[in-house]
């Protein structure tokens, strides 16, 4: 009887495990994307892999560099399609969306399951009570062949967030606050269990933003509990039967951090550290060149809605490019149908294909050297988008309902800052 992680892994391993134990456990779902699948295929072949253990529980996603901007990428994509075909895996081709939106949206991530993905933000599905973690291509290949993976059962830090989020602050602010509190390596090798009334009040989409950034603290998973909202989210999306897993009353935690977030102002991470998080006010006035709204962190419908409300009837400043990438085809369509996307386009947004593009620096809005990007992504590492800074755009200093006059309608975001300019990570 233990933490959510211990309980999920115990059920899978068929014996009671505690933090620190090493087990080989069956895996319920596997994902790899176009930046990691080539190496997965290579390892799979080298290991002598003939067939995929459970092809209906393996998804290959073409999102990181899609549609292909280069011949080399086209060849990778071709190889992936062929592999999916040969092994009968699920293929989400160009335009379907970002892997971490698709896996939950298509009903593959269910409560109590173990999921591994060849991408670090696989922890996003923790919001669906799923023990989901990123691994490298060779680990994924081993799981494809054997249907299993080895895990060291993590110890857990419990985060209990009380209160009511102030108007103008959103789940991303909680995520950034969490990363600052724990620091970029504060939860390395560990699990996070994130809950409390603030989390209960959020939609499943908004919760995913927080679980998504668990890896930014070094954590293996960012688990949340199972509730009605998760059940409703999955209704009509999955045929897989599942059972929510909670922690036991006598669970042992490494640490419990309980906080009231009722005064949490909008946050931003400054370049180039995910944990260099400050209230947005502190960077007010910084000139920005590009705003990117999208990614597995904040490319969901409610994010687009927030942005479109702020920009409704306004125009993006001439000196700023606004790039929007809905996180999936479903989100793209729904935001089109309800008029959200139209409002953004009228304000001056350039809409690009659902996928990763500008987030990882492969296309669809790569900034020039030295430019400042305010992004909804999760990382603000140098070298990622050729440059630099990332942030959460959808905010405006002092809780004034978001961007309004701050953000793209005039080309400044915040105060001058390190390296002369700079906002960052919302994402």
């Amino acid at each position: 009887m233990g933490t959510i992680s211990e309980n999920v892994i115990s059920t899978h391993a068929g014996k009671a495990v505690v933090a620190g134990d090493i087990v080989v456990a069956p895996v319920d779902f596997i994902m790899s994307q176009d930046g990691t699948t080539s190496l997965t295929i290579q390892a799979f072949r080298k290991m002598g892999g003939k067939s995929v253990h459970a092809p209906d529980r393996y998804a290959i996603v073409l999102d990181h560099s899609a549609p292909s901007p280069l011949e080399g990428v086209s060849n990778i994509h071709k190889e992936m399609r062929e592999f999916a075909d040969v092994c009968d895996a699920i293929l989400y081709d160009v335009g379907e969306g970002v892997c971490h939106q698709l896996v939950p949206e298509k009903g593959h991530a269910v409560p109590g399951s173990i999921i591994i993905g060849a991408d670090s933000h696989t922890c996003t599905y923790g919001a669906l009570n799923s023990f989901a973690t990123g691994m490298g291509s060779t680990d994924v290949a081993a799981a494809l062949i054997s249907g299993k993976t080895w895990l060291r059962v993590p110890s857990t830090i419990k985060l209990a967030y009380r209160g009511v989020l102030p108007a103008g602050s959103f789940s991303k602010d909680i995520a950034l606050h969490m990363v600052r509190t724990l620091t970029a390596d504060g939860a390395t090798y560990m699990a996070l269990e994130i809950g409390g009334e603030v989390i209960d009040a959020l939609s499943v989409e908004a919760r995913m933003t927080i679980s998504n950034m668990a890896v930014e603290t070094g954590a293996k998973v960012g688990l949340m509990g199972y509730d009605r909202k998760v059940a409703d989210y999955l209704k009509g999306r999955t045929k897989v039967s599942f059972k929510g897993v909670s922690s036991s009353g006598d669970a042992k935690y490494d640490r419990v951090i309980a906080e009231d977030l009722s005064d949490l102002p909008p946050q931003v991470a400054r370049p180039h550290r995910v944990d260099d998080v400050v209230p947005v006010d502190e960077v007010a006035g910084t000139e920005i060149d590009e705003v990117f709204i999208g990614t597995c962190t904040n490319g969901r419908l409610e994010d687009l809605r927030i942005a479109s409300q702020i920009l409704d009837g306004k125009k993006v400043a001439k000196s700023v490019r606004l790039i929007v990438a809905p996180a999936s085809r479903e989100i793209y369509l729904r935001s089109m149908e309800e008029g959200t996307l139209g409002r953004l386009v009228k304000a001056g947004a350039a809409v690009v294909t659902p996928g990763c593009g500008p987030c990882v620096g492969t296309g669809g809005g790569i900034p020039a050297d030295g430019e400042i990007v305010l992004s909804t992504a999760n990382r603000n590492f140098k070298g990622r988008t050729r440059t630099r800074s990332y942030t959460w755009p959808a905010r405006r200093p002092r809780h004034t309902p978001r961007f309004r006059d701050a953000f793209p309608t005039r080309g400044r975001y915040s105060d001058e800052h390190s390296e002369g300019k700079g906002a960052q990570v919302r994402g």
Partner: protein
């Protein structure tokens, strides 16, 4: 796993995988040796040319944080790096290193400076700073990782055992 010898190339804390190899190169080429020419270039231009076979990358905390890309340990390996020695590692990177057979050593690196001559005994978990006559003890690898590393990486481990063989029971 024998004794490794080489010089230290010193880096700081939180060296992320985009520093090790920028995400954009993943798609420019599939050739790891080509990619390796860009290893750590945002932190140290032309680093590739400064590495002699067997040299060590020595860093502070949280080495390899960020993406799960296995290209990160692969480019270090292809560039000739014999092992990465750091105060702590990000989880996926650490695992990836073992899987591809690149040794990782977790120890106090504060006494290691740029250019120091090092001898690393992986089995005993000792780092000998030859130029200073000092010996630092490393955190032992979990047994499962020793097994995989001794087999030459996860691919070889799988080939040898036909699956996971992480403990004697199975």
């Amino acid at each position: 796993m024998n004794i490794l010898r080489g010089r230290a190339h010193r880096f700081g804390d939180d060296v992320n995988t985009d520093y090790i190899i920028s995400g954009k190169y993943k798609f420019k080429t599939l050739d790891i040796n080509e990619m390796a020419k860009h290893v750590m270039e945002d932190l140290r231009p032309k680093f590739y040319e400064q590495i002699e076979d067997g040299d060590f990358v020595v860093a502070g905390r949280n080495f390899g944080c960020g993406s799960s890309r296995e290209q990160a340990p692969l480019v270090l390996q292809a560039a000739g790096v014999g092992a990465v020695i750091a105060e702590s590692f990000a989880r996926v990177f650490y695992r990836n290193c073992i899987n591809v057979g690149l040794p990782v050593v977790e120890c106090d690196t504060s006494g290691i400076e740029e250019g120091d001559e090092l001898q690393v005994d992986l089995r005993k978990g000792l780092v000998h700073i030859v130029s200073k006559g000092k010996i630092v003890k490393a955190t032992p690898l979990p047994a499962v990782m020793v097994r995989i590393l001794e087999d030459g990486g996860l691919v070889e481990h799988f080939k040898k055992h036909g699956g996971f063989k992480i403990s004697d029971e199975g």
